[in-house]
């Protein structure tokens, strides 16, 4: 690892140079106050002052819906058109951690070529961030990043401190060597340290993850699950926006003109009623409460025992997204015995007049 310095005004020229022959993906504004990762043609479209995008960056590696291959009786043609060479700039620590979890998952027993190829073709250029009221990545210990990036840009007042995390990242720096200073001043270092401390103190949401696996076990049959099940709209939004959700459905699309089928792969989510339906019509998780229990077991219990860390990276997307306030924050607080201020709780208490 090496740390160099870049003037903020040199960032866009640098991005222009490195993306000359590669797709550049970065956060851009959608509506007045929302952001999405999108391919940018012009670096002035990039907006680094964002907190979270609507969909997580996994959409770049496995699009919500894509054709995996075309199959006829004679032939099998794979489609990797999503796995083009890319630079993903502006990704925050929580989302990099999300991708590290995906890396493990999609290589756990078998390698998933659709994910891996897109991942191997993409350089990750991280960017520092500031927590809003929904961020709780400090609780999941994903607020800092030690691996998994090629470059990481820490914004100071006028400069960036740039962490070089891989040799590929180093190659990028070498495309514009004059812009990067090797020597950091004491002030830069002090400024960075102070900023880091201030950021640590800026978190407004905290979740006690060490207690969660036990609480999940102890409260597996707790009325809480029925309560959140009563309110859940089964809309699938919480799972679709989560950076570590990875379920998908594979569907044949036979072609009208020719013989053969397109084999589509679509994101699927466990909160939908159809998710646990099997051939013959049996549905072993017909109840919304059972489906939510599965999701929370997955996020805050099972992952911890399998990978040593929760399947949640504290990005706050489920908090910002669920229309009825079912999210890792309110559910973990309720598991902890707290009376939370949430629509699902008010609905169950008959407080809505």
């Amino acid at each position: 690892m090496r740390i160099v310095k870049l003037k903020q005004k040199n960032l866009n020229p640098f991005l222009e140079v490195i993306s000359e022959n590669t797709e550049l993906w970065a956060p851009v504004r959608k509506y007045t106050d929302r952001h999405v990762f999108a391919q940018v043609e012009d670096v002035s479209q990039i907006d680094v002052d964002y907190t979270r995008t609507i969909l997580p960056p996994r959409k770049i590696f496995l699009p919500p819906s894509f054709n995996m291959f075309t199959a006829t009786e004679k032939e099998y043609k794979e489609n990797f058109s999503h796995a083009t060479k890319k630079i993903l700039f502006g990704i925050h620590p929580c989302d990099i951690h999300g991708l590290l979890i995906m890396d493990q998952f999609f290589n756990y027993v078998f390698e998933d070529p659709y994910y891996t190829q897109a991942r191997n073709n993409t350089l990750l250029l991280g960017h520092s961030c500031w927590p809003d009221e929904h961020c709780f990545c400090k609780s999941t210990r994903t607020h800092i990043i030690e691996e998994g990036y090629d470059l990481f840009f820490h914004r100071l007042s006028e400069d960036y401190l740039v962490w070089i995390g891989s040799s590929k990242g180093d190659d990028l720096i070498r495309l514009m060597p004059d812009c990067f200073e090797e020597k950091l001043s004491d002030e830069d270092i002090q400024f960075y340290i102070r900023l880091r401390e201030q950021r640590n103190e800026a978190f407004q949401t905290e979740v006690n993850f060490t207690a969660m696996p036990d609480l999940m076990e102890l409260k597996y049959n707790h009325p809480l699950w029925e309560k959140i099940g009563t309110a859940c709209l089964a809309c699938g939004s919480c799972t679709n926006v989560c950076p570590t959700c990875n379920c998908y459905n594979v569907m044949d699309h036979p072609q009208l003109k020719e013989r053969g089928s397109l084999i589509h792969r679509d994101w699927d989510t466990c909160t939908l009623q159809s998710y646990s339906e099997v051939a013959g019509g049996e549905n072993f998780r017909e109840k919304r409460s059972d489906r939510l229990k599965l999701w929370y077991t997955h996020k805050i219990q099972a992952y911890i025992s399998k990978y040593g860390k929760p399947g949640c990276v504290g990005c706050g997307r489920c908090i910002a997204t669920c229309p009825v306030d079912i999210n890792v924050k309110t559910v973990s607080q309720a598991l902890d015995g707290k009376d939370v201020d949430a629509f699902w709780n008010r609905l169950n208490k008959g407080e809505i007049k």
Binding site: K30, Y31, R34, V36, T53, I54, L55, P64, S65, T230, A231, C232, L233, A234, C235, G236, S237, N240, V241, M251, D252, H253, P254, Q255, L256, K257, W267, T269, L272, Q273, S274, E277, R288, A320, T321, P323, V324, F343, R346, L347, I352
Partner: protein, 260 residues
């Protein structure tokens, strides 16, 4: 006629004919549609219709006269598979939104007075599964091209059509729309079957539910959520009723009970 091809009939009951029209509007695929199947009856498209035994029928429209009941029963008898297409056939359509039979009679009188219908006695509009067994449902007002072609292709290739039991919110999120419900706008996406590509929300308009209720929709929760957001209950009910035909009558009864 071709012995190997699936024999298909497309029939229209009470509706705007929008679904049949949509099939004709698949201009780029139309020749392939007629090539792939033996379309025996399709009165919007051709005149030499044969109303014999069929493999599959697509039925558009709700049942709203006694003659239509007979017609539908005859169609069912002649076909291996029955597919309800469009909002009217699947849920009864906008014309079926008054669920209380007494209310229907009252409304009928209000519109038609004491006129006696000579042609065929009118009935309260109902979805076709009120009278016959339906094998597959293709919702939408009108149906969407993509879903129609998918279902049609599967049928002619001998693969059973797949259900689409997801709400509009799924595609809405895929398209990274900002959630209108979270901005306190009455959006029926969570209660509505997917298939339109989240068309309205992608144009910054809320979903009004024109694909009909999705399987397993949590009506009660959204009703109270909207109530908490300050919407008038009669307004919420009107919005929910618009495109749900007879399918959520039970919910309206339940809400009435709760009020007492």
């Amino acid at each position: 006629m071709n012995k190997d091809k699936v024999k298909i009939g497309i029939y229209e009951l009470t509706g705007c004919a929008g679904d049949a029209l949509l099939i004709l509007d698949c201009e780029n695929e139309l020749l392939d549609i007629f090539k792939a199947a033996d379309i025996q009856s399709f009165s919007m498209a051709k005149s030499d219709n044969i109303d014999g035994n069929l493999d599959v029928v697509l039925v558009e429209g709700s049942v709203s006269t006694e003659r239509e009941v007979e017609e539908l029963k005859d169609i069912r008898k002649r076909s291996q598979l029955v597919v309800a297409i469009g909002l009217c056939a699947t849920v009864g359509g906008i014309q079926a939104r008054f669920t209380n039979p007494k209310e229907w009679e009252k409304n009928f009188k209000k519109v038609y007075g004491d006129v006696k219908m000579e042609h065929t006695p009118p009935l309260q509009s109902k979805p076709i599964d009120d009278y016959v067994k339906v094998d597959y449902y293709l919702p939408g007002c009108p149906i969407g091209k993509e879903q129609f072609l998918h279902l049609f292709t599967r049928i002619v290739k001998g693969a059973p059509p797949e259900k689409y039991p997801r709400p509009v919110c799924v595609t809405c999120k895929f398209k990274e729309n900002d959630c209108l419900l979270n901005r306190d706008i009455l959006c029926l996406g969570p209660l509505t079957a997917d298939g339109c590509g989240a068309a309205c929300i992608s144009h910054n308009l809320p979903c009004v539910g024109c694909w009909g209720p999705v399987e397993g929709a949590n009506l009660t929760s959204e009703y109270y959520l909207l109530k908490e957001k300050g919407f008038d209950v009669e307004y919420i009910k009107k919005k929910m009723a618009n495109y749900s035909g007879t399918k959520i009558a039970e919910f309206f009864e339940k809400i009435k009970e709760e009020k007492k």
